[in-house]
Point group: C2
Chain length 394, copies 2
């Protein structure tokens, strides 16, 4: 989806009769506004802290935040992670941009799942790569298939192993291990985008690719996984604070990229995010999870109740998205046009999530922004439209 399409869609969402399953954005009703306001007041009310917070700051990020993040990563199984493995970024999107800037020369091949996160494609496209398919549970690509003499060695693989945007699906432990086997065989860096990590509603946590790779390699600084995290889904997006975790030599290069790109992420926002996250992150994620889970449940139940035969969908254990496979006769973009005009329901059609803009028979539904009753109503309307369309095309 291009920027202009995004803006068109955003305009639509201002129309109150539209039920939107389009944006993959958190519900602002759930933002910890009071805690954030208190943290800003505390920092800005202390002259010495305020002067430091409002001045230029180190490119690698605010040290106490980096130390706290390193502790969080260790608690999630990334043994040996220290502040030196952390770069603070403007959300995880900037992490993806920096990875593109570090690794991609025009015409290099990089590997992604098909479909994959639209924002990652946008970030990487700036550096003009070619795309190929990342090995995964839906395909039978092996290391050997990337080593044919006619092909250029891929520069990195990118994926979102938990609650992927757009499919909502996750890689299980065996699938992660197989991906790491292939990466090891190819000496291939892997970019792990874990933007939705905080939003698990069921199932057991699986170690991150970074945790598994650090263990295999005998230390984080010896592995080849670069992890991108963010507070955008757990706390708020508007402070633009995310982070990269990587082997130290990679972080050192990324710090230079950060310096050249925008010097540093707002020091004030980093200090506030450190205060807020280190105080309330656990309680905040506990508070928002059941609310998003109820919305996921409402969407899955409504799909079951209202979708005609020939339509199938994923059953995500977390995140914000359900991915719908349409009958072959139905094009996602056309469905979107009719859905807005006739059913007053918005979503994102699938082809933008494919580097080759294939995948025309898919749509992405986000359940993050609407209460269950509205989700039920929107899916009911969409189901009615699809029921009309399916026999007409059969």
């Amino acid at each position: 989806m291009r920027g202009s399409e995004v803006r068109e869609l955003l305009k639509l969402l201002d129309q109150p009769d539209i039920i939107s399953f389009a944006g993959g954005i958190p519900d602002p009703e759930l933002f910890p506004r009071a805690a954030i306001a208190r943290a800003f007041a505390r920092v800005l009310g202390d002259p010495a802290r305020a002067k430091a917070a409002l001045q230029y700051a180190p490119s690698e990020g605010y040290l106490p935040l980096r130390q706290w993040l390193a502790g969080e990563m260790r608690a999630r199984g990334v043994t040996g992670c220290s502040a030196d493995n952390i770069l603070v970024t403007n959300g995880s999107q900037q992490g993806l941009d920096f990875v593109g800037k570090l690794f991609i020369q025009a015409q290099d091949t990089i590997l992604v799942p098909y479909p994959t996160f639209l924002g990652a494609l946008q970030a990487f496209n700036a550096y003009e790569p070619e795309y190929d398919l990342l090995p995964g549970p839906d395909n039978n690509r092996t290391a050997a298939s990337y080593l044919e003499p006619s092909r250029r060695r891929p520069k990195f693989g990118y994926c979102m192993p938990e609650f992927q945007n757009p499919t909502g699906t996750s890689l299980d432990l065996a699938e992660r291990e197989r991906l790491l086997d292939t990466a090891d065989a190819l000496n291939l860096p892997l970019i792990e985008d874990n933007a939705y990590e905080a939003l698990r509603y069921e199932g057991r946590r699986v170690p991150s690719l970074l945790a598994l790779a650090a263990e295999r390699a005998g230390g984080i600084d010896l592995c080849k996984v670069i992890y991108c995290g963010t507070f955008s889904k757990s706390i708020v997006p508007g402070l633009r604070v995310g982070w990269i975790v990587a082997p130290r030599p990679v972080v050192e290069k990324l710090v230079l990229i950060k310096q050249a790109s925008d010097l540093h992420t707002s020091g004030l926002n980093q200090i506030v995010m450190h205060e807020v996250a280190s105080t309330i992150l656990a309680a905040q994620t506990e508070a928002i999870r059941p609310i998003y889970q109820a919305r996921r449940d409402a969407m899955l139940q409504a799909l079951q109740a209202h979708m005609p035969a020939g339509v199938s969908w994923t059953r995500p254990e977390g995140g914000m998205f359900v991915w719908v496979d349409l009958p072959a006769a139905i094009d996602g973009a056309e469905l979107l046009r009719r859905s807005i005009a006739e059913a007053r329901v918005a979503f994102v059609s699938g082809s933008g999530f494919f580097p080759d803009r294939s995948g025309r028979h898919h749509i992405r539904l986000s359940f993050s922004l609407s209460p269950p009753a509205r989700i039920e109503e929107g899916i009911r309307r969409l189901g009615r439209l699809l029921t009309e369309m399916v026999p007409a095309r059969a």
Copy 2:
């Protein structure tokens, strides 16, 4: 200067007996802390505003801020400037990065003054350009000299026409017109970096290259100048709010680059900066100018009093820097080493400001951070060291 050198220098500055003329950064004692704290409290205290400020936001920036900036630009002579000509960036550094991303393919030629702003070289270097000299008052380059068949047409010219970092010098009106003549003859985009604009201590304001080019072309959307501005020197750097002003078709491309790079600049910080700047920018710049002017005056007087024969320096009408030409026998980097060890005075040696790392017989002195008495003391010490060194090398 590389990132590692910058960090070494920053470490030194923590040593209280060092007098630093190194960093080109504003004095945090002059930050309008109370006004900023009030603005954050107001926005975050209003639930509806807070929710919007903490949510994802449009890539082009906060509309009221863009509208206000357009008005400011019109007031500075950029006729017809509207919000559609403005993109909000994370400081002007991000504007430079985006210009590099938009225009430069590896091995393209771009034109800069020698010396030029280090941060611009760092931003552009990521895209692997070749450098050539921008036409200017210190050289006799003409349009024809760039049109030899063996040369590639330059992609853009970059300069800081007011109080240049590192020299402190400005282009007068005739020099700006000549630069625009050459650019017109080459159909060459010009990047105008006006980071220090607010800090004029004497002399008359000269119209910006953008204002002059828009008038020549019959409208901002028809000209080829891209202007980068920032609140970092006038208000504070720590909110990371700057802006680009450009013809609308260029802004549309830059908005897509912004979206792919980090989605948007913190909405909260933009809203706060709009409240603060639209309320106090004029008063704030009135308040800080005489303070920086007194420091410039102290530095120029001290140089006059303490420098040995054979040393010369610029006399800036504004900004934060004085550029010193050393006798040919003295290397700026060696002087820096000895100055830190023997005189306990820090500054930046000149070669980092040259794309070819020439200019070894220059140093940059910043007067922005120290009160006049400390400036006098630092220059006295530096003058004594230089006086020792000059005859020894003569």
